[in-house]
């Protein structure tokens, strides 16, 4: 298939197709709305008959993430997907993945909480994703797609980053992007890595100690505090490197902007509409969309912020990322938050009203 395959599909379906195409070796998941189409699409596509990708419906999210942990130990490209309550259940496993420095992909198509909450879209898992969630000093490389196309593109990117740094990566999406259908160009097929490739690229992988090499042992346990501190310092150094090299963002109409909206994912899409309405009314506003939520584009926001009259964060939560934006500009610029909760998506017009009040 030489020509680009343009098709229409849901964000969740795009995740599944992209996984098959990017040489993913295994998916382990458990149904939960609004992301069940990921597992459903994989089951329908039967990749085990074509690429050899393994697909398992686990008995719980706890089991899913631990299957991912087991699979990640073998150096394979393995992933799971879930939605907020399920991702909460996975936090222990995510901490273990980070502690054992294993590459893996977790997709969160998030919904409104707390608790069982609602199945409607939400960005209320920002804190959980970028501030920990599980126990211990760790970070998750976090990509926030704003379109179905990015849902497809970020699967391979997340794996690349996860393997480059031996760290779990998260795609933090939401029910809107997961359920929405859009035009998407699926990535070309990339073969799964051979066992020889894995053995050479991941010399740490537990695939059997072929050729009489020393055993590989994957654990996050180290009872000697002095040793554990050294491990932690090494991991922290890795995080600093990621913060230096892997910040990604999109700038939109910031050149002449006097006001800046900072928003990610679906809130960024809404922001673009807000900007077109606001500019018609004479408000010069632009958008900074963090694509990586961790590492966070703090330096870029500080730079842009220094020439803004005000910053508005638009979030589908009670105001989480706003804290990181305030930290980035060190309170030198007024930073305001607007958002809706409980699965309600802010309407462009109501955000324009907030902007108008800021300008006054």
């Amino acid at each position: 298939m030489a020509e680009k395959e343009i098709t229409l599909m849901k964000g969740n379906e795009a995740i599944a197709h992209a996984a098959i195409r990017c040489g993913c070796d295994g998916y382990f998941g458990y149904p939960i709305t609004p992301q069940s189409e990921v597992l459903e699409t994989l089951a329908e596509q039967k990749p085990w008959e074509t690429t050899g990708m393994v697909v398992v419906q686990a008995e719980s999210e706890v089991s899913s993430i631990n299957m991912v942990y087991g699979g990640a130990c073998t150096g394979k490209r393995v992933m799971t997907s879930s939605s907020s309550p399920g991702v909460s259940l996975m936090q222990e496993g995510i901490s273990y993945l980070a502690g054992a420095e294993l590459p893996a992909l977790v997709v969160n198509v998030s919904r409104g909480g707390p608790g069982l909450g609602t199945i409607q879209p939400s960005q209320a898992d920002y804190f959980q994703t970028v501030k920990g969630g599980g126990h211990g000093d760790y970070r998750l490389i976090t990509l926030a797609p704003a379109s179905v196309q990015e849902m497809a593109d970020f699967v391979d990117l997340a794996f690349e980053l996860a393997f480059r740094y031996r760290n779990p990566a998260m795609i933090l999406s939401d029910g809107a992007i997961g359920q929405m259908m859009e035009k998407v160009v699926l990535p070309p097929f990339k073969p799964r890595r051979s066992e020889e490739q894995i053995a050479s690229e991941c010399p740490w992988a537990t695939i059997g100690r072929k050729g009489g090499r020393k055993p590989n042992i994957i654990t996050s346990l180290e009872l000697r505090s002095e040793e554990m501190e050294i491990i932690n310092l090494r991991i922290q150094a890795k995080y600093r490197e990621i913060e230096k090299k892997e910040v990604r963002f999109e700038e939109y109409m910031t050149d002449d902007a006097e006001y800046l909206i900072v928003a990610f994912g679906s809130a960024a899409r809404i922001s673009k509409k807000v900007i077109s309405i606001a500019r018609e009314q004479g408000i010069k506003v632009g958008l900074l969309r963090p694509i990586t939520l961790w590492p966070f584009p703090s330096a870029k926001i500080a730079e842009l912020g220094s020439r803004m009259k005000g910053i508005l964060t638009l979030e589908i939560n009670a105001g989480q990322m706003v804290e990181d934006v305030r930290l980035a500009v060190e309170c030198k610029v007024p930073v305001q938050y607007f958002g809706r909760l409980g699965g309600i998506i802010p309407e462009p017009e109501e955000v324009v009203e907030v902007l108008k009040k800021m300008v006054k």
């Binding site: 343009i6 098709t7 229409l8 709305t33 609004p34 199945i119 409607q120 029910g175 809107a176 359920q179 929405m180 259908m181 859009e182 035009k183 679906s266 899409r269 809404i270 673009k272 509409k273 807000v274 077109s276 998506i345 309407e347 462009p348 017009e349 109501e350």
Partner: protein, 181 residues
């Protein structure tokens, strides 16, 4: 040109699939499209709606609070979305089950009795395509050729024999839609 469309009715009326065919037809014409359902556990009988945007430019927000076109298939949907049609916009409704018809004078109101017609002609299965035909008559968002192309692309091979019936329904819809104001 951008078309911001809401389609709303009962679950089981083919609201989501009509939206999907519309979006897919836009795709066939090389346009930018989004299809955003109000998803949930609603099954047959509950309410269902979908926002479809077909545009020559990249689509910003897939979620809207006002629409160029509202396609309304039941009373609760009419009550909810009539106020959200942009001034000068279009409201298309099926008269079946509507007790309080649209009131606004600043929008173009069209009525299409597709449910009755489909029942009479034994075409209930393609009732939603009749509605789509009505839309295409009053606002040619996509061409009939693109719709047929989209159907060929999205329907499984074993259902391709149903395409002529779909085409007939679209043409019927174009005939029976009437302007009310």
């Amino acid at each position: 040109m951008t078309h911001e469309i809401i389609i709303s009715g009962f679950g089981g009326q083919g609201v989501l699939s009509m939206g999907k065919i519309l979006a897919y037809s836009g795709l066939m014409e090389g346009k930018e499209v989004t299809w955003m359902p109000a998803y949930g556990p609603e099954q047959r009988g509950g309410t269902a709606n979908v926002t479809v945007i077909v545009s020559d430019e990249p689509v910003s927000s897939p979620i809207l609070s006002s629409y160029d076109v509202a396609i309304i298939l039941n009373q609760p949907s009419l009550d909810k979305f009539e106020p959200k049609v942009k001034k000068g916009g279009i409201l298309i409704y099926d008269g079946n089950g509507i007790n309080v018809p649209p009131q606004r004078k600043d929008i173009n109101v069209y009525r299409i009795d597709a449910m009755d017609t489909a029942a009479k002609l034994n075409m209930i299965k393609v009732f939603n395509m009749m509605i789509l035909g009505g839309l295409m008559k009053v606002r040619p968002v996509v061409t009939i050729e693109s719709v047929l192309k989209a159907l060929r692309k999205t329907l499984p091979e074993r259902h391709h024999h149903l395409i002529p019936m779909n085409e007939e329904a679209i043409r019927k819809g174009m005939e029976i839609i009437v302007k009310e104001n």
